[in-house]
Protein backbone atom coordinates (compact mmCIF):
# COMPACT_ATOMS: atom_id res chain seq x y z
CA UNK A 1 0.00 0.00 0.00
CA UNK A 2 2.89 2.32 0.67
CA UNK A 3 3.44 3.08 -3.01
CA UNK A 4 -0.19 4.21 -3.27
CA UNK A 5 0.05 6.60 -0.36
CA UNK A 6 3.19 8.51 -1.34
CA UNK A 7 1.65 10.50 -4.16
CA UNK A 8 -1.85 10.61 -2.73
CA UNK A 9 -3.80 13.32 -4.48
CA UNK A 10 -6.83 13.21 -2.23
CA UNK A 11 -5.89 14.91 0.96
CA UNK A 12 -6.29 12.49 3.81
CA UNK A 13 -8.00 9.74 1.83
CA UNK A 14 -5.39 7.09 1.21
CA UNK A 15 -4.78 3.88 -0.65
CA UNK A 16 -7.77 1.60 -1.12
CA UNK A 17 -10.29 4.13 0.18
CA UNK A 18 -9.06 6.58 -2.40
CA UNK A 19 -9.62 4.02 -5.14
CA UNK A 20 -13.16 3.33 -3.89
CA UNK A 21 -13.92 7.05 -3.70
CA UNK A 22 -12.48 7.51 -7.19
CA UNK A 23 -14.53 4.67 -8.69
CA UNK A 24 -17.80 5.76 -7.03
CA UNK A 25 -17.18 9.42 -7.95
CA UNK A 26 -16.20 8.47 -11.48
CA UNK A 27 -19.35 6.33 -11.87
CA UNK A 28 -21.52 9.22 -10.63
CA UNK A 29 -20.02 11.60 -13.15
CA UNK A 30 -20.16 9.06 -15.97
CA UNK A 31 -23.87 8.58 -15.29
CA UNK A 32 -24.46 12.34 -15.03
CA UNK A 33 -22.60 13.09 -18.28
CA UNK A 34 -24.47 10.31 -20.10
CA UNK A 35 -27.78 11.63 -18.76
CA UNK A 36 -26.96 15.17 -19.79
CA UNK A 37 -25.95 14.05 -23.25
CA UNK A 38 -29.20 12.13 -23.63
CA UNK A 39 -31.33 15.03 -22.38
CA UNK A 40 -29.52 17.80 -24.18
CA UNK A 41 -31.60 19.43 -26.87
CA UNK A 42 -28.55 21.15 -28.35
CA UNK A 43 -26.70 17.86 -28.84
CA UNK A 44 -29.88 16.38 -30.27
CA UNK A 45 -30.15 19.07 -32.93
CA UNK A 46 -26.45 18.68 -33.74
CA UNK A 47 -26.87 14.94 -34.31
CA UNK A 48 -30.05 15.51 -36.34
CA UNK A 49 -28.23 17.96 -38.63
CA UNK A 50 -25.39 15.54 -39.29
CA UNK A 51 -27.96 12.90 -40.18
CA UNK A 52 -27.90 10.71 -37.08
CA UNK A 53 -31.16 11.72 -35.39
CA UNK A 54 -31.47 8.51 -33.41
CA UNK A 55 -27.94 8.28 -32.01
CA UNK A 56 -28.87 10.42 -29.05
CA UNK A 57 -32.57 10.95 -28.39
CA UNK A 58 -33.26 13.88 -26.18
CA UNK A 59 -37.06 13.43 -26.24
CA UNK A 60 -37.59 17.17 -26.29
CA UNK A 61 -40.11 18.36 -23.73
CA UNK A 62 -40.82 14.90 -22.39
CA UNK A 63 -41.60 15.60 -18.78
CA UNK A 64 -40.74 12.23 -17.34
CA UNK A 65 -37.45 10.62 -18.32
CA UNK A 66 -37.06 6.88 -18.41
CA UNK A 67 -34.60 5.55 -15.82
CA UNK A 68 -31.80 3.35 -17.17
CA UNK A 69 -31.47 1.32 -14.02
CA UNK A 70 -34.65 -0.65 -13.31
CA UNK A 71 -36.26 -0.21 -9.92
CA UNK A 72 -37.85 -3.68 -9.94
CA UNK A 73 -34.94 -5.72 -8.46
CA UNK A 74 -34.62 -3.33 -5.52
CA UNK A 75 -38.37 -3.43 -4.97
CA UNK A 76 -38.31 -7.22 -5.06
CA UNK A 77 -35.59 -7.40 -2.41
CA UNK A 78 -37.43 -4.87 -0.25
CA UNK A 79 -40.66 -6.88 -0.60
CA UNK A 80 -38.88 -10.11 0.31
CA UNK A 81 -37.38 -8.58 3.43
CA UNK A 82 -40.77 -7.05 4.19
CA UNK A 83 -42.28 -10.51 3.99
CA UNK A 84 -39.80 -11.80 6.57
CA UNK A 85 -40.62 -8.79 8.76
CA UNK A 86 -44.32 -9.69 8.70
CA UNK A 87 -43.54 -13.32 9.52
CA UNK A 88 -41.41 -12.74 12.62
CA UNK A 89 -43.98 -10.58 14.35
CA UNK A 90 -42.88 -8.02 16.97
CA UNK A 91 -39.15 -8.37 16.14
CA UNK A 92 -39.93 -7.40 12.54
CA UNK A 93 -38.99 -3.77 12.97
CA UNK A 94 -35.34 -4.81 12.48
CA UNK A 95 -36.16 -6.27 9.06
CA UNK A 96 -38.19 -3.23 8.18
CA UNK A 97 -35.03 -1.15 8.75
CA UNK A 98 -33.15 -3.61 6.61
CA UNK A 99 -35.67 -3.23 3.81
CA UNK A 100 -35.56 0.56 3.85
CA UNK A 101 -32.26 1.02 1.94
CA UNK A 102 -33.65 -1.10 -0.88
CA UNK A 103 -36.87 0.88 -0.99
CA UNK A 104 -34.69 3.96 -1.09
CA UNK A 105 -32.61 2.54 -3.96
CA UNK A 106 -35.77 1.76 -5.92
CA UNK A 107 -37.01 5.30 -5.30
CA UNK A 108 -33.61 6.74 -6.30
CA UNK A 109 -33.56 4.93 -9.63
CA UNK A 110 -37.00 6.27 -10.56
CA UNK A 111 -36.23 9.85 -9.52
CA UNK A 112 -32.63 9.79 -10.84
CA UNK A 113 -33.35 11.13 -14.35
CA UNK A 114 -35.12 14.23 -13.00
CA UNK A 115 -32.38 14.84 -10.45
CA UNK A 116 -29.72 14.45 -13.14
CA UNK A 117 -31.41 17.17 -15.17
CA UNK A 118 -31.45 19.36 -12.10
CA UNK A 119 -27.81 18.51 -11.37
CA UNK A 120 -26.87 19.90 -14.78
CA UNK A 121 -28.28 23.26 -13.75
CA UNK A 122 -26.70 23.03 -10.29
CA UNK A 123 -23.32 22.35 -11.91
CA UNK A 124 -23.45 25.15 -14.43
CA UNK A 125 -24.73 27.64 -11.86
CA UNK A 126 -21.76 26.75 -9.67
CA UNK A 127 -19.10 26.58 -12.37
CA UNK A 128 -20.05 29.86 -14.07
CA UNK A 129 -20.45 31.69 -10.76
CA UNK A 130 -17.06 30.44 -9.52
CA UNK A 131 -15.33 31.35 -12.78
CA UNK A 132 -16.87 34.82 -13.14
CA UNK A 133 -16.44 35.35 -9.40
CA UNK A 134 -12.71 34.62 -9.71
CA UNK A 135 -12.39 37.18 -12.50
CA UNK A 136 -13.81 39.82 -10.15
CA UNK A 137 -12.10 38.52 -7.01
CA UNK A 138 -8.50 38.73 -8.25
CA UNK A 139 -8.54 42.50 -8.95
CA UNK A 140 -10.56 43.02 -5.74
CA UNK A 141 -7.93 41.22 -3.67
CA UNK A 142 -5.00 42.89 -5.43
CA UNK A 143 -6.61 46.31 -4.89
CA UNK A 144 -7.23 45.49 -1.26
CA UNK A 145 -3.60 44.52 -0.62
CA UNK A 146 -1.71 46.79 -3.00
CA UNK A 147 -4.16 49.56 -3.82
CA UNK A 148 -4.14 53.13 -2.59
CA UNK A 149 -6.14 54.25 0.44
CA UNK A 150 -9.28 54.98 -1.59
CA UNK A 151 -9.32 51.92 -3.83
CA UNK A 152 -8.45 49.48 -1.05
CA UNK A 153 -11.27 50.88 1.08
CA UNK A 154 -13.70 50.60 -1.81
CA UNK A 155 -12.69 46.99 -2.22
CA UNK A 156 -13.15 46.41 1.51
CA UNK A 157 -16.56 48.08 1.46
CA UNK A 158 -17.73 45.88 -1.43
CA UNK A 159 -16.49 42.75 0.31
CA UNK A 160 -18.10 43.61 3.64
CA UNK A 161 -21.41 44.64 2.03
CA UNK A 162 -21.66 41.37 0.11
CA UNK A 163 -20.43 39.16 2.93
CA UNK A 164 -22.55 40.94 5.48
CA UNK A 165 -25.92 40.39 3.80
CA UNK A 166 -27.76 37.10 3.30
CA UNK A 167 -27.31 35.41 -0.05
CA UNK A 168 -31.05 34.77 -0.26
CA UNK A 169 -31.71 38.50 0.23
CA UNK A 170 -29.26 39.28 -2.56
CA UNK A 171 -30.89 36.73 -4.83
CA UNK A 172 -34.37 38.15 -4.19
CA UNK A 173 -33.05 41.70 -4.62
CA UNK A 174 -31.69 40.88 -8.06
CA UNK A 175 -34.69 38.80 -9.12
CA UNK A 176 -37.67 40.63 -7.63
CA UNK A 177 -36.09 44.02 -6.86
CA UNK A 178 -34.05 45.00 -9.89
CA UNK A 179 -35.69 44.65 -13.31
CA UNK A 180 -32.83 42.30 -14.26
CA UNK A 181 -35.07 39.45 -15.34
CA UNK A 182 -36.94 41.73 -17.74
CA UNK A 183 -33.74 43.11 -19.25
CA UNK A 184 -32.20 39.67 -19.66
CA UNK A 185 -35.46 38.28 -21.03
CA UNK A 186 -35.59 40.99 -23.69
CA UNK A 187 -32.21 39.95 -25.09
CA UNK A 188 -32.96 37.91 -28.19
CA UNK A 189 -30.55 35.05 -27.65
CA UNK A 190 -32.40 33.91 -24.53
CA UNK A 191 -35.03 32.32 -26.74
CA UNK A 192 -32.54 29.99 -28.42
CA UNK A 193 -32.60 26.35 -27.45
CA UNK A 194 -29.92 25.31 -24.99
CA UNK A 195 -29.69 28.74 -23.37
CA UNK A 196 -30.38 28.88 -19.65
CA UNK A 197 -33.60 30.54 -18.61
CA UNK A 198 -33.57 34.14 -17.41
CA UNK A 199 -34.00 33.15 -13.77
CA UNK A 200 -30.87 31.02 -14.06
CA UNK A 201 -28.97 33.99 -15.52
CA UNK A 202 -30.11 36.18 -12.62
CA UNK A 203 -28.99 33.44 -10.23
CA UNK A 204 -25.56 33.30 -11.89
CA UNK A 205 -25.23 37.09 -11.55
CA UNK A 206 -26.19 37.01 -7.87
CA UNK A 207 -23.95 34.03 -7.07
CA UNK A 208 -21.06 35.58 -9.01
CA UNK A 209 -21.27 38.78 -7.00
CA UNK A 210 -21.64 36.91 -3.73
CA UNK A 211 -18.86 34.47 -4.49
CA UNK A 212 -16.49 37.19 -5.68
CA UNK A 213 -16.50 38.71 -2.19
CA UNK A 214 -15.69 35.41 -0.49
CA UNK A 215 -13.10 34.45 -3.08
CA UNK A 216 -11.51 37.90 -2.74
CA UNK A 217 -11.07 37.29 0.99
CA UNK A 218 -9.39 33.92 0.41
CA UNK A 219 -7.13 35.42 -2.24
CA UNK A 220 -6.33 38.48 -0.10
CA UNK A 221 -5.17 36.25 2.76
CA UNK A 222 -3.10 34.22 0.30
CA UNK A 223 -1.50 37.32 -1.24
CA UNK A 224 -0.59 38.61 2.19
CA UNK A 225 1.16 35.35 2.96
CA UNK A 226 3.53 35.86 0.01
CA UNK A 227 6.79 37.20 1.44
CA UNK A 228 7.11 40.92 0.72
CA UNK A 229 10.71 40.38 -0.35
CA UNK A 230 9.32 38.69 -3.46
CA UNK A 231 7.82 41.90 -4.80
CA UNK A 232 10.89 43.89 -3.70
CA UNK A 233 13.07 41.50 -5.69
CA UNK A 234 10.79 41.75 -8.72
CA UNK A 235 10.91 45.54 -8.58
CA UNK A 236 14.69 45.49 -8.15
CA UNK A 237 15.01 43.67 -11.46
CA UNK A 238 13.07 46.49 -13.12
CA UNK A 239 9.55 45.11 -13.19
CA UNK A 240 6.79 47.62 -12.46
CA UNK A 241 4.60 47.03 -9.42
CA UNK A 242 1.79 45.62 -11.58
CA UNK A 243 4.19 43.36 -13.50
CA UNK A 244 5.68 42.17 -10.22
CA UNK A 245 2.22 41.37 -8.86
CA UNK A 246 1.28 39.57 -12.06
CA UNK A 247 4.44 37.53 -12.57
CA UNK A 248 5.63 36.94 -9.01
CA UNK A 249 2.99 37.58 -6.33
CA UNK A 250 -0.12 36.16 -8.04
CA UNK A 251 1.43 32.88 -9.23
CA UNK A 252 2.44 32.17 -5.63
CA UNK A 253 -0.61 33.69 -3.93
CA UNK A 254 -3.14 31.88 -6.12
CA UNK A 255 -1.44 28.57 -5.28
CA UNK A 256 -1.83 29.37 -1.59
CA UNK A 257 -5.48 30.26 -2.25
CA UNK A 258 -6.49 26.87 -3.69
CA UNK A 259 -7.58 25.29 -0.35
CA UNK A 260 -9.76 28.30 0.48
CA UNK A 261 -11.01 28.39 -3.06
CA UNK A 262 -12.00 24.70 -2.79
CA UNK A 263 -13.96 25.60 0.32
CA UNK A 264 -15.86 28.30 -1.55
CA UNK A 265 -16.49 25.90 -4.45
CA UNK A 266 -17.99 23.35 -2.09
CA UNK A 267 -20.14 26.00 -0.39
CA UNK A 268 -21.46 27.26 -3.69
CA UNK A 269 -22.46 23.81 -4.91
CA UNK A 270 -24.80 23.64 -1.93
CA UNK A 271 -25.80 27.31 -1.76
CA UNK A 272 -26.77 27.23 -5.43
CA UNK A 273 -29.87 25.37 -4.16
CA UNK A 274 -31.22 28.79 -3.14
CA UNK A 275 -31.81 29.40 -6.85
CA UNK A 276 -34.80 27.07 -6.45
CA UNK A 277 -36.56 29.94 -4.67
CA UNK A 278 -36.49 32.08 -7.82
CA UNK A 279 -37.94 29.26 -9.96
CA UNK A 280 -34.65 27.88 -11.30
CA UNK A 281 -35.25 24.13 -11.81
CA UNK A 282 -31.98 23.03 -10.22
CA UNK A 283 -31.40 19.77 -8.41
CA UNK A 284 -32.94 21.00 -5.17
CA UNK A 285 -36.08 22.28 -6.87
CA UNK A 286 -36.55 18.97 -8.66
CA UNK A 287 -36.30 17.22 -5.31
CA UNK A 288 -38.81 19.60 -3.73
CA UNK A 289 -41.24 19.03 -6.60
CA UNK A 290 -40.85 15.25 -6.39
CA UNK A 291 -41.42 15.48 -2.65
CA UNK A 292 -44.70 17.32 -3.02
CA UNK A 293 -45.81 14.95 -5.81
CA UNK A 294 -45.06 11.72 -3.95
CA UNK A 295 -45.11 12.80 -0.29
CA UNK A 296 -41.94 10.74 0.12
CA UNK A 297 -40.13 13.66 1.73
CA UNK A 298 -37.71 11.57 3.79
CA UNK A 299 -36.65 9.53 0.79
CA UNK A 300 -36.22 12.37 -1.68
CA UNK A 301 -34.21 14.56 0.69
CA UNK A 302 -31.93 11.65 1.57
CA UNK A 303 -31.42 10.92 -2.13
CA UNK A 304 -30.80 14.53 -3.11
CA UNK A 305 -28.53 14.95 -0.08
CA UNK A 306 -26.43 12.02 -1.29
CA UNK A 307 -26.33 13.57 -4.77
CA UNK A 308 -24.97 16.84 -3.34
CA UNK A 309 -22.49 14.85 -1.25
CA UNK A 310 -21.28 13.08 -4.39
CA UNK A 311 -20.79 16.38 -6.23
CA UNK A 312 -18.99 17.93 -3.27
CA UNK A 313 -16.62 15.03 -2.65
CA UNK A 314 -15.68 14.62 -6.30
CA UNK A 315 -15.09 18.38 -6.55
CA UNK A 316 -12.86 18.34 -3.48
CA UNK A 317 -10.94 15.40 -4.93
CA UNK A 318 -10.47 17.19 -8.23
CA UNK A 319 -9.32 20.37 -6.49
CA UNK A 320 -6.81 18.43 -4.40
CA UNK A 321 -5.48 16.96 -7.58
CA UNK A 322 -5.22 20.41 -9.12
CA UNK A 323 -3.35 21.66 -6.06
CA UNK A 324 -0.86 18.81 -6.35
CA UNK A 325 -0.41 19.38 -10.07
CA UNK A 326 0.37 23.06 -9.57
CA UNK A 327 2.64 22.61 -6.59
CA UNK A 328 6.36 23.28 -6.95
CA UNK A 329 9.05 22.45 -4.40
CA UNK A 330 8.57 24.87 -1.52
CA UNK A 331 5.05 25.93 -2.48
CA UNK A 332 2.01 23.76 -1.80
CA UNK A 333 3.79 20.45 -1.36
CA UNK A 334 2.51 18.24 1.41
CA UNK A 335 5.54 15.95 1.68
CA UNK A 336 6.61 17.30 5.06
CA UNK A 337 3.20 16.67 6.59
CA UNK A 338 2.83 13.03 5.62
Amino acid sequence: MSADTVDSAVGTIRGRKKVVAGVVGGALWLWLLARWAAHNTLLDSVFTTIGLPDLIRSEVRVGVREPWIPAAPFEAIADAIGGVAAAVGPAGFFFEWLAWPFELAAFATSTGPALAEGAFITVYLTVFSMAFGLVIAVPLAVTRVYGGPVSSRLSLAYTELIRGTPLLAQLFFFYFGLPLAGIIGSVGIMELSGMPRTAAVVAIIAFTINSSAYQAEYIRAALQSVDEGQLTAARSVGLSKLEGIRHVVLPQGLRFAIPGWTNEFVYLIKYSSLAAFITVPDMFRRARDIGSDTFQYTEIYVVVGLCYLGLVITTAMAMNRLEDRLSVPGIGQSAGRE
Binding site: D227, A233, A234, R235, S236, V237, G238, L239, S240, H247
Partner: protein, 244 residues
Protein backbone atom coordinates in the same frame (compact mmCIF):
# COMPACT_ATOMS: atom_id res chain seq x y z
CA UNK B 1 33.79 60.94 -14.29
CA UNK B 2 32.23 59.08 -11.44
CA UNK B 3 29.55 56.43 -12.02
CA UNK B 4 27.72 57.02 -8.75
CA UNK B 5 27.67 60.31 -6.89
CA UNK B 6 25.75 60.63 -3.65
CA UNK B 7 25.45 64.25 -2.63
CA UNK B 8 24.34 65.40 0.88
CA UNK B 9 21.59 62.81 1.24
CA UNK B 10 19.26 63.01 4.22
CA UNK B 11 16.67 60.40 5.10
CA UNK B 12 14.52 59.84 8.13
CA UNK B 13 11.72 57.44 8.95
CA UNK B 14 9.23 59.67 10.72
CA UNK B 15 11.14 61.39 13.51
CA UNK B 16 13.95 58.85 13.34
CA UNK B 17 16.90 60.18 11.31
CA UNK B 18 18.59 57.38 9.34
CA UNK B 19 20.99 59.14 7.00
CA UNK B 20 22.48 62.56 7.58
CA UNK B 21 24.43 64.53 5.00
CA UNK B 22 25.88 61.44 3.30
CA UNK B 23 28.12 62.22 0.33
CA UNK B 24 30.53 60.05 -1.63
CA UNK B 25 31.51 59.16 -5.16
CA UNK B 26 32.32 55.88 -6.86
CA UNK B 27 34.12 55.33 -10.12
CA UNK B 28 33.41 52.63 -12.63
CA UNK B 29 34.91 49.21 -11.81
CA UNK B 30 35.32 50.27 -8.23
CA UNK B 31 34.37 48.07 -5.29
CA UNK B 32 33.07 49.95 -2.31
CA UNK B 33 32.39 48.23 1.01
CA UNK B 34 30.13 49.93 3.52
CA UNK B 35 30.48 48.85 7.14
CA UNK B 36 28.86 50.07 10.30
CA UNK B 37 26.97 48.94 13.36
CA UNK B 38 23.42 47.65 13.20
CA UNK B 39 20.99 50.50 12.55
CA UNK B 40 23.66 52.80 11.14
CA UNK B 41 21.75 53.23 7.87
CA UNK B 42 23.78 50.97 5.57
CA UNK B 43 20.87 49.12 4.03
CA UNK B 44 18.83 52.30 3.74
CA UNK B 45 21.69 53.90 1.83
CA UNK B 46 21.66 51.04 -0.70
CA UNK B 47 17.89 51.18 -1.04
CA UNK B 48 18.06 54.91 -1.73
CA UNK B 49 20.37 54.26 -4.66
CA UNK B 50 17.83 52.09 -6.53
CA UNK B 51 14.89 54.03 -5.10
CA UNK B 52 13.33 51.22 -3.12
CA UNK B 53 13.40 53.99 -0.52
CA UNK B 54 13.01 57.65 -1.43
CA UNK B 55 15.42 60.20 0.05
CA UNK B 56 14.20 63.34 1.85
CA UNK B 57 16.81 65.71 0.46
CA UNK B 58 20.06 65.67 -1.47
CA UNK B 59 20.89 64.25 -4.86
CA UNK B 60 22.07 60.95 -6.25
CA UNK B 61 23.61 60.80 -9.71
CA UNK B 62 24.10 57.66 -11.76
CA UNK B 63 26.36 58.31 -14.73
CA UNK B 64 25.69 62.06 -14.30
CA UNK B 65 21.92 61.66 -14.38
CA UNK B 66 19.98 62.51 -11.25
CA UNK B 67 18.20 59.24 -10.43
CA UNK B 68 14.88 60.92 -9.74
CA UNK B 69 14.77 62.15 -13.33
CA UNK B 70 15.09 58.56 -14.57
CA UNK B 71 12.11 56.19 -14.72
CA UNK B 72 12.38 54.04 -11.60
CA UNK B 73 12.01 50.76 -13.49
CA UNK B 74 14.72 51.84 -15.92
CA UNK B 75 16.93 52.86 -12.97
CA UNK B 76 16.48 49.47 -11.33
CA UNK B 77 17.36 47.70 -14.54
CA UNK B 78 20.65 49.61 -14.53
CA UNK B 79 21.30 49.04 -10.81
CA UNK B 80 21.15 45.39 -9.75
CA UNK B 81 20.50 44.26 -6.20
CA UNK B 82 21.43 41.17 -4.19
CA UNK B 83 19.55 40.58 -0.95
CA UNK B 84 20.44 39.23 2.45
CA UNK B 85 17.52 36.77 2.29
CA UNK B 86 18.18 35.98 -1.41
CA UNK B 87 14.53 36.70 -2.30
CA UNK B 88 14.54 34.26 -5.18
CA UNK B 89 11.13 33.93 -6.86
CA UNK B 90 9.90 30.85 -5.03
CA UNK B 91 7.65 29.54 -7.81
CA UNK B 92 10.32 29.66 -10.51
CA UNK B 93 13.36 27.48 -11.23
CA UNK B 94 16.86 28.91 -11.03
CA UNK B 95 16.65 29.54 -14.76
CA UNK B 96 13.15 31.03 -14.48
CA UNK B 97 14.38 33.45 -11.83
CA UNK B 98 16.83 34.88 -14.34
CA UNK B 99 14.68 34.76 -17.47
CA UNK B 100 11.74 36.65 -15.91
CA UNK B 101 13.58 39.98 -15.95
CA UNK B 102 15.25 39.26 -19.26
CA UNK B 103 11.91 38.61 -20.94
CA UNK B 104 9.67 41.16 -19.23
CA UNK B 105 12.14 44.03 -18.83
CA UNK B 106 14.71 43.55 -21.59
CA UNK B 107 12.20 41.96 -23.97
CA UNK B 108 14.37 39.02 -24.99
CA UNK B 109 12.78 36.04 -26.71
CA UNK B 110 12.33 32.84 -24.71
CA UNK B 111 15.28 31.13 -26.39
CA UNK B 112 17.59 34.13 -26.00
CA UNK B 113 16.64 34.58 -22.36
CA UNK B 114 17.19 30.90 -21.55
CA UNK B 115 20.55 30.82 -23.29
CA UNK B 116 21.64 33.93 -21.40
CA UNK B 117 20.32 32.56 -18.09
CA UNK B 118 22.20 29.30 -18.54
CA UNK B 119 25.34 31.26 -19.40
CA UNK B 120 25.12 33.24 -16.15
CA UNK B 121 24.27 30.16 -14.09
CA UNK B 122 27.41 28.59 -15.52
CA UNK B 123 29.41 31.64 -14.46
CA UNK B 124 28.34 31.23 -10.84
CA UNK B 125 29.02 27.49 -11.00
CA UNK B 126 25.41 26.32 -11.10
CA UNK B 127 25.06 25.09 -14.69
CA UNK B 128 23.66 21.78 -13.41
CA UNK B 129 21.00 23.40 -11.21
CA UNK B 130 19.08 25.38 -13.81
CA UNK B 131 15.93 23.28 -13.33
CA UNK B 132 16.03 23.36 -9.51
CA UNK B 133 13.56 25.38 -7.49
CA UNK B 134 14.86 27.68 -4.74
CA UNK B 135 13.59 25.32 -2.02
CA UNK B 136 15.82 22.60 -3.49
CA UNK B 137 18.99 24.71 -3.32
CA UNK B 138 21.30 25.42 -0.40
CA UNK B 139 21.57 28.99 0.89
CA UNK B 140 24.90 29.48 -0.86
CA UNK B 141 23.48 28.18 -4.15
CA UNK B 142 20.40 30.41 -3.78
CA UNK B 143 22.56 33.46 -3.26
CA UNK B 144 24.65 32.60 -6.31
CA UNK B 145 21.44 32.40 -8.35
CA UNK B 146 20.54 35.79 -6.85
CA UNK B 147 23.84 37.20 -8.07
CA UNK B 148 23.37 35.65 -11.51
CA UNK B 149 19.86 37.15 -11.66
CA UNK B 150 21.22 40.63 -10.96
CA UNK B 151 24.19 40.16 -13.28
CA UNK B 152 22.16 38.93 -16.26
CA UNK B 153 20.39 42.29 -16.55
CA UNK B 154 23.75 43.86 -17.56
CA UNK B 155 23.65 46.43 -14.75
CA UNK B 156 26.11 49.30 -14.46
CA UNK B 157 26.26 48.83 -10.71
CA UNK B 158 25.28 46.03 -8.33
CA UNK B 159 24.20 46.64 -4.75
CA UNK B 160 24.93 43.86 -2.26
CA UNK B 161 22.87 44.07 0.93
CA UNK B 162 24.68 41.81 3.44
CA UNK B 163 24.77 38.94 0.92
CA UNK B 164 26.35 36.42 3.31
CA UNK B 165 24.68 37.32 6.61
CA UNK B 166 21.93 34.71 6.31
CA UNK B 167 24.30 31.91 5.33
CA UNK B 168 25.76 29.08 7.37
CA UNK B 169 29.51 29.69 7.87
CA UNK B 170 30.58 26.89 5.53
CA UNK B 171 28.52 28.36 2.67
CA UNK B 172 29.90 31.91 2.87
CA UNK B 173 33.07 31.08 0.96
CA UNK B 174 31.35 30.02 -2.29
CA UNK B 175 29.40 33.31 -2.43
CA UNK B 176 32.45 35.45 -1.62
CA UNK B 177 34.42 33.71 -4.35
CA UNK B 178 31.77 34.65 -6.90
CA UNK B 179 31.86 38.24 -5.64
CA UNK B 180 35.65 38.34 -5.84
CA UNK B 181 35.49 37.05 -9.41
CA UNK B 182 33.05 39.83 -10.25
CA UNK B 183 35.29 42.44 -8.66
CA UNK B 184 38.27 41.18 -10.67
CA UNK B 185 36.14 41.18 -13.78
CA UNK B 186 35.58 44.90 -13.36
CA UNK B 187 31.99 45.01 -12.07
CA UNK B 188 31.15 48.14 -10.10
CA UNK B 189 29.94 46.97 -6.69
CA UNK B 190 28.54 48.72 -3.65
CA UNK B 191 28.53 46.18 -0.84
CA UNK B 192 27.21 46.25 2.68
CA UNK B 193 29.05 43.36 4.33
CA UNK B 194 30.76 42.35 7.49
CA UNK B 195 33.18 40.04 5.70
CA UNK B 196 36.44 41.80 6.45
CA UNK B 197 38.46 39.27 4.49
CA UNK B 198 36.52 40.26 1.38
CA UNK B 199 36.85 43.95 2.26
CA UNK B 200 40.61 43.68 2.60
CA UNK B 201 41.17 41.68 -0.57
CA UNK B 202 38.56 43.08 -2.97
CA UNK B 203 37.53 46.56 -1.84
CA UNK B 204 39.03 49.69 -3.31
CA UNK B 205 37.41 51.83 -0.65
CA UNK B 206 35.79 51.16 2.71
CA UNK B 207 33.21 53.52 4.15
CA UNK B 208 32.51 53.41 7.87
CA UNK B 209 28.97 54.57 8.56
CA UNK B 210 27.76 55.22 12.09
CA UNK B 211 24.52 56.79 13.20
CA UNK B 212 23.64 57.78 9.62
CA UNK B 213 26.87 59.71 9.06
CA UNK B 214 30.05 58.78 7.24
CA UNK B 215 32.69 58.65 9.96
CA UNK B 216 35.60 57.73 7.78
CA UNK B 217 36.25 56.63 4.24
CA UNK B 218 39.44 55.41 2.56
CA UNK B 219 41.40 52.48 1.13
CA UNK B 220 41.35 49.28 3.23
CA UNK B 221 44.98 49.56 4.36
CA UNK B 222 44.33 53.01 5.80
CA UNK B 223 41.18 52.03 7.69
CA UNK B 224 42.57 48.77 8.99
CA UNK B 225 46.11 49.90 9.85
CA UNK B 226 45.82 53.59 10.44
CA UNK B 227 42.31 54.80 11.10
CA UNK B 228 41.81 58.50 11.79
CA UNK B 229 39.03 57.86 14.26
CA UNK B 230 39.28 55.59 17.23
CA UNK B 231 35.72 54.37 16.64
CA UNK B 232 36.65 53.07 13.21
CA UNK B 233 39.56 51.11 14.58
CA UNK B 234 37.51 49.60 17.39
CA UNK B 235 34.66 48.59 15.11
CA UNK B 236 36.83 47.08 12.38
CA UNK B 237 38.90 45.34 15.04
CA UNK B 238 35.80 43.75 16.51
CA UNK B 239 34.56 42.60 13.10
CA UNK B 240 37.92 41.16 12.17
CA UNK B 241 38.11 39.34 15.49
CA UNK B 242 34.65 37.95 15.02
CA UNK B 243 35.01 36.68 11.51
CA UNK B 244 38.55 35.37 11.31
Amino acid sequence: MSLLRVDSVDKSYGDEPVLHDVSFEMDRQQVEVVVGPSGSGKSTLLRCVNRLTEIDSGEIYLDDEEIHSVDENELRRRVGMVFQDFNLFAHLTARGNITLGLREVLGLSKAEAEAKADDYLDRVGLADQSESYPAELSGGQQQRVGIARALAMDPELILFDEPTSALDPELIGEVLRVMEDLAEGGMTMLCVTHEMGFARSAADTITFLDDGKIVERGPPEQLFENPEHERTGTFLGELTGLHQ
